[in-house]
């Protein structure tokens, strides 16, 4: 099995156009708002003071990040106390090497994985396969994508861009038999196939939704049970933790659990919430002999010290994707990175460089639906505007036409007579434009290519005011 190309679909505009023209993708995406989006709203309506609960979650994140180094040290001490080992990884390559080293030292060969966006972020599968390990994704959606060699297109529903017949084809080609185009039967096929992998795996790799510093506990939130199998059956469990996922105490956890599943899928709790503290204890028949926690930086400390620090509050629920009118039209792959949607438009430029993704901060109408849906109220629109401003200051992104227009505009605003003359002219020329919308502006095709330009009103407000307003 192969990993997807890292920079596939790098060119946002092309990828977005392709997505818009793909009828299968469009019909897959059309279900998002009615299902996940609506369930999210209904689930929060049950909590009488959900706004305050989200504020509490936000306050915990903010306070924890302010002293993240101290909480990481506490976490490490707690993991050690329970017989686990902590490893620190500065970046993706470092983390991949560390994890490969743990597997080698344990004499492992067969690796099962539960769904983890952080392992996607560091392209762990490719690294482990290059070392000769056999790696299998066990989340149903991730398994389909691994077989297909594709990238997740959604934080919690990674294969949401695929329809059932496509999945039957992907899994059927891999199995060498024809599989029915039926959700239950395809799931049963995956269960059978993956059970064999769980039975022989010697290493299980998971991510971590949270890590509790005072207890050394890694928290996994899943619906299928593959996370439980991954962390219970193999003799080695390795958890990869994005370092911003630490929370100080066990008492903080229910605050996040109450908002996470509601935001993600509209459930009160996901089916399985596992709190894993170290390796198995004496007398237990299942659970791993070894527990390793790999703490990943990979650009997070750079973000932590800067103005977009709030992006580290993200608990990866996917609610902003479901709420976003842009995401719901172009899907996740167009965003070019592992993280899609509004939060991806913030994270991808932060992680892999703004100038590599100049279109992402603009892939938003700034309507605010993402922030309204966010369980920790991250100010995503504000961050996108900040990124746009940074882009504007990047010499490599300078647009001479745009700059000239803004200079002209600024000059007019500073000269009232000139401004009045210009509006007078505009209302009497293009202001008389039939229909009120201009479909093509010479020299500004980039703008009017995808949207119409509102024609000026036939009469300026000033003129109207002079005539009517003072009476």
């Amino acid at each position: 099995m192969t990993d997807y190309a890292v920079h596939e679909h790098e060119e946002f505009l092309t990828a977005a156009d392709e997505a818009l023209a793909d009828p299968s993708l469009q019909s897959a995406l059309s279900m998002l708002a009615d299902t996940l989006g609506q369930r999210n709203k209904d689930a929060f309506a049950e909590l009488s003071d959900s706004g305050l609960l989200r504020d509490r979650a936000r306050a915990i994140k903010d306070a924890t990040l302010a002293e993240l180094d101290r909480h990481l040290e506490t976490l490490e001490a707690s993991v050690n106390r329970r017989g686990g080992q902590v490893h620190y990884a500065a970046d993706g390559a470092d983390a991949c090497q560390t994890i490969a080293g743990i597997i080698r030292a344990a004499g492992g060969r067969h690796v099962v994985k539960s769904k983890s966006m952080t392992t996607e972020e560091i392209h762990l599968n490719r690294a482990l396969e290059a070392e000769g390990f056999h790696v299998v994704e066990t989340d149903f959606g991730e398994y389909i994508l691994q077989v297909a060699g594709q990238r997740p297109s959604h934080l919690v529903a990674p294969a949401v861009h695929l329809r059932i017949p496509q999945v039957a084809k992907i899994l059927g080609d891999d199995a060498g038999e024809q599989l029915p185009e039926d959700a239950e039967k395809l799931a049963a096929y995956a269960r059978r196939t993956l059970r064999k992998e769980f039975a022989r795996a010697d290493v299980g790799i998971s991510g971590a939704n949270f890590a509790v510093a005072e207890t050394g506990t890694v928290v996994l939130v899943t619906n299928e049970g593959n996370g439980r199998l991954t962390t219970s059956m193999p003799r080695v469990h390795i958890a990869l933790l994005g370092m911003e996922k630490v929370i100080p105490q066990l008492a903080d956890l229910p605050v996040f659990l109450k908002v996470l599943a509601r935001a993600a899928t509209g459930q009160k709790l996901s089916i399985y919430t596992s709190m894993i503290t170290g390796r198995r204890q004496p007398g237990e028949l299942d659970g791993p002999d070894e527990f390793h926690l790999v703490v990943l930086d990979n650009g997070r400390s750079r973000i932590l010290g800067g103005p977009l620090r709030e992006s580290l509050f993200c608990i990866r629920c996917g609610a902003c994707l479901n709420a976003c009118p842009i995401y719901r039209n172009i899907g996740g792959h167009a965003y070019g990175g592992v993280y899609a949607g509004p939060i991806g438009a913030v994270l991808t430029p932060l992680y892999s460089g703004l100038t590599h993704h100049p279109h992402l901060p603009h892939a938003s109408s700034l309507c605010g639906a993402c922030q309204a849906a966010c369980p920790v109220k991250i100010a995503i629109p504000e961050m996108l505007v900040q990124l746009r401003e940074q882009l504007h200051r990047e010499p490599s992104q300078a647009n001479r036409v745009e700059n000239a227009i803004y200079r002209l505009w600024a000059a007019m605003l500073r000269r009232p007579r000139l401004y009045r003359l210009a509006t007078w002219l505009a209302t009497r020329t293009i202001g008389r434009w039939p229909g009120g919308w201009i479909r093509h502006l010479p020299g500004l095709g980039g703008w009017t290519g995808a949207r119409d330009f509102p024609a000026p009103a036939p009469e300026s407000f000033r003129d109207w005011w002079h005539r009517e307003g003072q009476a």
Binding site: R82, R163, N223, T277, Q281, L304
Partner: protein, 226 residues
């Protein structure tokens, strides 16, 4: 990367980031988000469990619980069962009940003497898992399962059918109460694995349609002795 170098970098970043802390109101009540169970916790628990696709049954006596369990053994006619060792299950006479129905009985004390591959094979082959719970949470319809020797995590995970029997004293109203219980037992004593189970195994990965039993049990029965 060296530990000290890593933590020093985080320390510097956390300090620099304090200039960008967000403002959050400071008058949030301590119990914000507490839902509770209402006047009838057992009924609420059953209703929530049914709402997430489980089959909850309220019974009034241990006698009735045994009858309900016997009925499930007839319905699924499993060849072997993977069971917890738990006082409530002992009071119900689980071992004798399984024997009556010709179901092979596997639990910690019977599995522990076996060599590991054999014990694992028995666990994988079990067709029903029978457990109690550490706590049951009425608000969310969840079972809280703290793993210890005798309360294996796999009993509620590997078999395609999971049956749990809980009694009134095990029910807590709200998720917050369940965490208060874990804290009261001492956070340093937290079990190696504590799992909240809220329904049968599900996936929404195919066209967001709910499909049950992908990895964990597709059938989830809870008998509540009120």
């Amino acid at each position: 990367m060296k530990r000290e170098e890593f933590l020093a970098r985080v320390r510097g970043a956390a300090a620099a980031g304090r200039a960008y802390r967000v403002h959050v109101r400071d008058d949030i009540p301590a119990r914000v988000g507490y839902v509770g169970a209402g006047p009838n916790p057992a009924e609420r628990l059953a209703a929530e469990m049914n709402a997430v696709g489980g089959f909850a049954q309220l019974v009034d006596s241990e006698e009735a619980a045994r009858a309900a369990l016997a009925e499930l053994l007839v319905r699924y006619s499993p060849k072997s069962a993977l069971c917890w060792q738990h006082p409530l299950l002992e009071r119900l006479g689980l071992a004798a009940l399984l024997e009556t129905h010709g179901v092979e009985h596997w639990s910690h004390d019977l599995l522990a003497p076996l060599d590991q591959p054999t014990a694992r094979a028995k666990m994988f082959a079990a067709e029903i898992g029978i457990t109690s719970a550490t706590w049951a949470i009425a608000e969310t319809g969840s079972l809280l399962m703290a793993a210890t020797g005798g309360r294996e995590r796999t009993a509620s995970l590997l078999p395609p059918v999971h049956v749990a029997i809980v009694e009134r004293a095990q029910i807590v109203p709200d998720l917050f109460d369940a965490y208060a219980q874990l804290e009261a037992a001492g956070v340093e004593n937290l079990a190696s694995n504590v799992t909240l189970i809220t329904g049968p195994s599900k996936t929404g990965d195919l066209e967001l349609k709910l499909t049950t039993g992908v990895h964990g049990p597709g059938k989830w029965h809870v008998i509540i002795v009120r």
